[in-house]
Every structure is written in structure tokens, then in C-alpha cells.
Amino acid sequence: MLGAAFFALPLLGLLQQAAWSEVVRDLGSPEVRAALRLSLECSLWATALATVLGVPVAWVLARGQFRGRSLLRALVLLPMVLPPVVGGVALLAAFGRTNGLVGPWLFDTFGIQFTFSKTGVVLAETFVAMPFLVLTVEGGWRALDARYEDAAATLGAGRWTTFRRVTLRLLGPSLAAGAALAWARALGEFGATITFAGNVEGRTRTTPLAVYLLLETHPGAALALSLVLLAVSVVVLVALRDRWFGVRR
């Protein structure tokens, strides 16, 4: 009971404190809308990037037979347990424009700059969100009966056709669940973003950053934004309920 209350009380507080009549108005202010739009845009890009980069990693982890596989998994999981601020500092050390490992080269050759840019936000969000996708898809891949792929092969399907027409179809639910989790995590990302990409309104000030700032100047708006993030989390949980809570349709 005590444990449940511990989780329930903050939620109740959030709902009770909200001045419902003002929530709608607060969500309409330009500052809040800019933050929401930026968050949506960056988190979707981060989800896409995490999917493109994460699916091959999941495949290697699920199907690969090689030394150092557990090391690779540990590496992929690290962002889940790493304090996000440390993640941000690490990203700076790698991609920082002036003295990162590859940052100066990327800027000189391609003109890509991460700090104080949307690209930086996307990168920071991908960094923290990708483990959720990799883990979920890896689990799905392990559970997948390889004989479906064998059957496709004996029916004349090449490796790419088999992947596209069979593997991807069977992985669909895991992929969707992984992407939803990664997206939710990307949307809420704070520490790595503010450390790595900074806090520039309209470019890197995502919703969580805005919540933090508004709390001092305009607590009502902060509360409204928090409710939006809460709603997103609840929606993701409900969408994934079949997967975790054994609810059958």
C-alpha cells in the first residue's frame, strides 16, 4: 500500500494542482507551442534514427555468434543506467565542435554542428532512447522461429526478400513496441540534451527543458506541459499493455 501510494501521490498532486481552465490557455502560448513542436519533431527523428541504427545491432545481439557479444550488449545498455548529464558530457567529448573526438572533423568536412542545434537534440535523444529499441527488438528476434526464414529461403526468396517479407513482418509488434518506448524516452529527455545541445529557445529548448524553466517564471504553464508528457506516457503504456500485462483482446 505504502509503495503504491508513493507512486500515486505525485500523479494525484499533478492532476490536483492543475488549474484546468488555464491549461488550455497555457498550452496555447507561443513559447509552450514552440517547445512542444520542437520536442515532437526531434523525438520522431530520434526514434527513426534509433530504429535505423538499432535494428542491425539487435540482429547482431540476437543472432550473432561471436566473442564480445556481451560486451556489445553492455555498451548498448550503458545509456540506460548512465546519468543523462554524463551522457551529455560524453557526447560533447565525442561530437563537440571545438575539442570533441570527431566533432571538429564533422564540422570542417560536412558543416555539421551539434551544439546549440536541433541535430544535437536528436543525437542526444537517440543516445538515451536507442537501448529501449535495441532491447525490445532483440527480444522479439530471439523469440522469432528461424524456420519461417528457412521456409522462405526454400521457396526461392533471397535474403533481402526474406527479411522484408517475413522477418520484418514477424518482428512488427516488437519493432512497434520498441519504437514507442524509444519515442517516449526521447520525448522526456532532459539531462543529455541540456548538456550537449544547450538550451536555445526554438532550437534546443524541448518540452522538458521548458518545464524546468517555466517552473520559476510561469508554474501554470510548466504544469500544463507536464500533463502533456504524462498523457503521452499513459498512452504509450496503454498501447503496450498487451505486451506486458498479459491483457488479451
Binding site: 522461429d145 524456420r147 528457412d150 521456409a151 529461403a153 526454400t154 521457396l155 526461392g156 514477424l170
Partner: protein, 349 residues
């Protein structure tokens, strides 16, 4: 169409002999679980590579590790019906059957038309739009067969095609399968059920612990089983021993008098259960082999009764129910089994 396979494939700790020649015929690979039957099929389909040797189909080399040749499954023209069928759950029956045609570049409408043809041929014209989870076991099996046949493979492999079915469906599907497999082409089917082998196959290959023990028709094998496993399958008594001067000395030390004096050295001995007589006491007369023992099992089979006897020479006898009643046979009873020398088959190991 001729498949010639001679080689080995390692799976886990087992080296499986991939030793098989299949012309326009149906060959059954019969063996206990874990004998390497599925591995053998997978090497033919290209789902498991050979470690040594070579597989050719109509003269084309499919797998030859020494020469560095390995043809991928997609390019082999080897069809496969998997155990529990492995239909794509996200496609309906028609799309499952059309999958192979689509993969080989047949247009969507043409592939569907031919898929419908195949479904009609296996008697499932009504089920074209049904998803696999809405089909019964027997229907699933027929869709899997149609799916494999639709690509018109030169070699068709079937892995335990009837194992996933209940007893009722087995009988029906087995009969239908015999009809569908009768069309020209090389067919290999793997099974652990001697009835499947007897009904479906022209020839049988016995695989035990990765090794080919015996090949031949089911009748040949039933007459001269070369291992205890085969003897049990065909319901025969089987022993190994050393023959000399019309006597066979078994591993346990007991001896059998046999009529055939031409075979000597290490031999197999088989005795049909119906050739075994049972008595309360050792009889005289022409039955020249007598073994005393204890009844362990009595199984009624209609008007026949199978009696298992443990003793110096363990033996199974099949006698009439009337004779069994007369002898009052029950587990624990002492009994004497007799076999005429002329009823014992002896053949070299």
C-alpha cells in the same frame, strides 16, 4: 531426376551421414528421435551445410565443401514441408501458396491463379482466404504441401509430415499424401513412424545415431532387421551372435540351433513372434530351441496376444487368444518358449 548425396554434416556432437540416392521415387528416412533425420533433410535443402562430401541434383553440384561450392536454398529447386508446417501466420492460405511463385518473379495475378489451382488440387479451394490459425491441422498440412509443390521443385523434402496430426486426421492425410506424392519427381520424407514409411515410401533408409543402418523396401527390412531398433519397429525378435556349425552363440552365452549352415561368423538373427510357441513345460518334438523365462507383459491384439518373456533369451511371442487362455498366461508366470530351427532367419552382420 536424381539426387545423389554422400557426405557428413555435424550437428552438436553428432556426425550425421548424409548418404542417399533418390531417383523418381519416394524414399523414407526412418529413425528414432535425435538420429539426425531433420539435419539430413536440411543439408539437402541447403539450410545446413555439409562438412564433407557432396550433394548433386540432376548432375548439378549443390554442396561440395572441398570444392568450395554451396548453392543457397533459394537457388536449389528443393522444396521443403516442415514439421508443424510453418505457414506464414500473416498471410492467408492463397498467399502462402503463392509465396514461392512471387519470390521467383511470377506476377501477382498469375501467382494467385496458380495458388488457387494448387489449393483446389489438395481439396482446399474453399480455404483460399483463411489465415493459418483458422485452419485445422490437416488443412494446414495440405496448404504446406501445396506451398512446397507450387514451385515445382525437382526434389521435395517432407519432415515428419504427419507427426502434428491427430490419429483420425493421420489416416486420411496419409492416404491423400500418397496420391499427391505419386506424381513424378524425387521425394524424401523423414518419419519415425514405420506405418508412414510403409504406406508412403517405395524405399526406406534407416538412420540411427547419424548412421545409415539399413536400406531396402519395408518388406526386406521387416524380414532381416539389422538392429534392435528396426526389429522393434517391425515387431520382430532380433539378436546378434556368432554362427558356426548350425549353432549361433548369442552375446549372453545362450545358443540357438539354426537350419541354415551356410552363414558363419558374426550374424544377425531374427525370429518372427508368430513362429514362437509357448508351453508350460519343455516339449519334445521338432522344436529344437527351448528357452525358459518369465512372462513380463501380455497385450491383447484382437484374437492374437503378444507375450513378452524375459530370460536368458528375451523373446516376444504372438499366439492366439485361445492358446493364451488355455495356458493361463499372466505377468510373473514361468513359461517355456520354443522356436523351430527352420523358423530362424540368420544373415551376416
Amino acid at each position: 531426376m536424381t539426387l545423389v548425396a554422400a557426405g557428413t554434416a555435424r550437428v552438436g556432437a553428432l556426425d550425421v551421414a548424409v548418404d542417399l540416392t533418390v531417383a523418381d521415387e519416394i524414399v523414407a528416412v526412418l529413425g528414432p528421435n535425435g538420429a539426425g533425420k531433420t539435419t539430413l533433410l536440411r543439408t539437402l535443402a541447403g539450410l545446413h551445410p555439409l562438412d564433407t562430401g557432396r550433394i548433386t541434383l540432376d548432375g548439378t553440384v549443390l554442396d561440395d565443401p572441398a570444392a568450395g561450392v554451396f548453392v543457397r536454398p533459394a537457388h536449389r529447386s528443393v522444396g521443403m514441408v516442415f514439421q508443424d508446417h510453418v505457414l506464414f501466420p500473416f498471410l492467408d492460405a492463397r498467399e502462402n501458396v503463392a509465396f514461392g511463385l512471387r519470390s521467383r518473379g511470377v506476377g501477382r495475378r498469375e501467382a494467385r491463379r496458380r495458388a488457387d489451382d494448387w489449393l483446389a488440387r489438395v481439396g482446399l479451394a474453399d480455404c483460399a482466404t483463411a489465415r493459418p490459425d483458422a485452419l485445422s491441422g490437416g488443412q494446414t498440412q495440405r496448404v504446406a504441401l501445396a506451398r512446397a509443390l507450387a514451385s515445382e521443385p525437382r526434389l521435395l523434402c517432407l519432415d515428419e509430415p504427419l507427426a502434428a496430426l491427430d490419429a483420425q486426421a493421420r489416416v486420411e492425410i496419409r492416404r491423400a499424401l500418397r496420391r499427391h506424392l505419386a506424381a513424378a519427381g524425387a521425394r524424401v520424407l523423414v518419419t519415425h513412424d514405420p506405418v508412414d514409411a510403409a504406406v508412403l515410401a517405395d524405399r526406406v533408409v534407416i538412420l540411427e545415431a547419424g548412421r545409415v543402418i539399413q536400406t531396402g523396401t519395408m518388406d526386406e527390412i521387416a524380414l532381416r532387421p539389422r538392429s534392435t531398433y528396426v526389429a522393434d519397429l517391425v515387431g520382430c525378435n532380433h539378436y546378434r551372435g556368432v554362427a558356426a556349425d548350425g549353432r549361433v552363440t548369442l552375446a549372453g552365452g545362450a545358443t540357438l540351433v539354426v537350419a541354415d549352415r551356410t552363414v558363419t561368423g558374426v550374424v544377425h538373427v531374427s525370429v518372427h513372434p508368430r513362429s514362437v510357441g509357448l508351453h508350460r513345460e519343455a516339449p519334445g518334438g521338432s522344436s529344437r530351441n527351448h528357452f525358459a523365462g518369465t512372462v513380463t507383459d501380455v497385450d491383447g491384439l484382437g484374437d492374437r496376444v503378444r507375450v513378452r518373456i524375459e530370460g536368458a533369451v528375451p523373446i516376444v511371442a504372438e499366439i492366439t487368444a485361445a492358446a493364451s487362455t488355455e495356458l493361463g498366461l499372466a505377468p510373473g508366470h514361468g513359461v517355456v518358449a520354443s522356436v523351430k530351427a527352420t523358423e530362424i532367419t540368420v544373415y551376416p552382420a
